[in-house]
Symmetry: C2
Subunit: 394 residues, 2 copies
């Protein structure tokens, strides 16, 4: 398929509910459980101001000048620290700064995927990842999820039947499913990659937003332990824990991939905003990130609990869901056959919007599903939203 | 060719002198006429601080939150003003903010070029544009340049023989050639596009850095006058007139292309750094850009004159060049057969580096050429550089 045709396919996807939702979410009186936007009231504006002060006083020239395609070495060193806390051993050379997870995926897709390669995603999976893989002219296959995340046994069956290039997965507090891959399945997935020689794209934007005391080990850290490090490409971002508007994320590449992703980054946009990188780096130097993460996790947990309770009491007889252990999303499924895309028209009239689940599938969409984002909604409005959803039931 | 093979081709290009030059240019005592980096001593740090103050006091939430893929409407409105001064009529809907010219080209290539399409570039042309078109699997053809820029008669012959998709051109103060397309040739080029139905990618990063009193009309403005507006896609950037590190540029798209580029922008990196956009917009609101452009033009002209005089007096018998009317680059050609890539080893030993011309060709490279960037070098060092080049002659 030509890039033009693909652009049109993307266009078709775009003209989906997503864009409308962004508009609706700004409409008077409408409560939006739509877009996955962090809560701006929780931004650490004091810390960001402090960091910006340091940028403007100590680093103006770097912040406004061209930089390396790999990213600011000082920022990459700080990222290596963060990775260590996530059980990932890395050096500056392993880390490339990107303009957020979306770009990380786009660059990976362009570096790794040849037209026709099969990429396996979760069912449901992150919508924008589907677009990136389609642009790279990949064939998409999908594997189901349950309360423990991707059903790796299903994947094992699939790779018996066909050769696959890579698995794309958000293993921790997934978007949209909200579920988390169990420890056993993480090891099973890495072992399977080792056995069948496929890659794993581990997309990890949410793992710090943890409602539990349990730590979920990254696939990359398992892979390093199991000698499969070359097969796991890890991406993460500051968007959900600091400020999405700065557009700063990163890729941890195996040696064989490093040069390709750097070359593609250079061809794509030379480098990520020096200003955004400098702000991020100086923010990290303030040492405030951990308490900021703690604050976000505490507040999002309250909201998540409020939504879960409200959904259970208002719609518990009609829908089921897995209570998220972290992150920003609740994924709900109607117990009976239902079309949530159609239903959106009614709920919008009643002043509440969400993302219909069907847009998160590359095949066999389950139209009885919906994604609810609680991060930016007050507890009071989360209850109202659940009541309005109930009032919208046929 | 697969994206992996292309990445490797890009890699080959990358491992060219360019990267090494960036290293060399930081070596003690070496004068670099290499990378096309704006002079940081000329950054309007006072104005940028003022703008950043306003961002942090009046617009923190927007600056740190997700934004529209099209870009900040207020910034796009300000860009429409700049475009009007360049003779281009536009509305906010015509303008999409990008993360700089490199990304503008990459998005255009992905939106417009199908594998095998022929793209015509100038001989010599901008290196990174070649990489982008190769990644898009385009066939490249080239047309010569002289003191009046692209030799459009040559293009006219070429389009008689074969169908082309687009012409990529930096018509004003070109990189690397330093030359400027004459008014007659601008109209001839647009008329030719009209007649043969090909597109023109007009890349215009340098036109504000004007050493003359003459104004050079954009191809887009001619196209609007001649009814060929749908065929000219115009890109520009704040990198050379404000701050490259912010990574803010833009595309002016015809109606038929608008949705595709926005969709691709969304799939590529969602949107350009809100912080960088906000800073740029507030800087424009200070009304300081015009005097900043005047300052840069005045200082670069001094440097350009100094380099031209020094090159004439030191190497005038061996090389020839066209005196730039603006921009950042002097393009020189040896009068005798010469290999400037080989020569670089000698000049480096003598403490001066440049970019060998052969890297700016997609075919038939002229190895007797070199690109000299004067923007970030003192007049004293420009003279020294010319003397060291002379001392390096075989």
């Amino acid at each position: 398929m030509s890039s033009q045709q693909l652009a049109n396919r993307v266009k078709a996807l775009q003209s989906s509910a997503i864009r409308d939702l962004l508009k609706h979410s700004k409409m008077e009186g409408v409560i939006s459980l739509g877009g996955g936007i962090p809560n701006p009231d929780l931004f650490d504006t004091e810390g960001l101001e402090l960091a910006m002060e340091r940028v403007m006083t100590t680093e103006r020239h770097n912040a406004f000048q061209y930089g390396l395609s790999e990213g600011d070495p000082a920022l990459r060193a700080a990222i290596c620290q963060i990775l260590a806390e996530r059980g990932i051993q890395s050096t500056i050379d392993d880390v490339m700064v990107t303009s957020g997870s979306q770009q990380s995926l786009d660059i990976l897709a362009r570096a790794v995927i040849n037209p026709g390669d099969t990429i396996v995603v979760e069912r449901p999976t992150y919508l924008a990842a589907l677009q990136v893989f389609q642009l790279a002219e990949a064939q998409l296959a999908s594997v189901g999820t349950d309360g423990e995340g991707m059903i790796v046994d299903e994947l094992a069956e699939l790779v018996q039947k066909q050769k696959i290039k890579a698995v794309y997965i958000v293993p921790t507090f997934g978007n949209p499913s909200g579920v988390t891959l169990s420890a056993a399945r993480r090891q099973q997935l890495v072992a399977l990659a080792q056995q069948h020689g496929f890659l794993i794209f581990e997309d990890d934007p949410y793992s710090e937003i943890n409602f539990s005391s349990e730590k979920f080990r990254t696939l990359k850290s398992y892979a390093q332990e199991m000698g499969a490090s070359d097969q796991v490409i890890y991406t993460s971002t500051f968007s959900k824990i600091l400020a999405p508007g700065a557009r700063v994320g990163w890729i941890v590449s195996p040696s064989w991939l490093k040069q390709s992703v750097v070359n593609l980054k250079q061809s794509t946009d030379l480098h990520t905003s020096s200003l955004s990188q400098s702000l991020t780096r100086h923010y990290l130097e303030t040492g405030r990130l951990q308490s900021q993460i703690a604050l976000i996790s505490k507040e999002y947990k309250k909201k998540c609990d409020a939504l879960c309770v409200a959904m259970e009491s208002e719609l518990g007889d009609r829908i089921r869901f897995h209570r998220p252990l972290g992150g920003m999303f609740l994924w709900a499924t109607f117990k009976e056959p239902f079309n949530t895309t159609e239903w959106l028209k009614t709920t919008l009239q009643n002043g509440v919007v969400y993302v219909p689940g069907e847009f998160f599938y590359c095949d066999n969409p389950d139209q009885s599903t919906l994604r609810l984002s609680y991060a930016s909604v007050s507890e009071e409005n989360l209850l109202k939203a659940a009541q309005r959803l109930k009032a919208s039931l046929p």
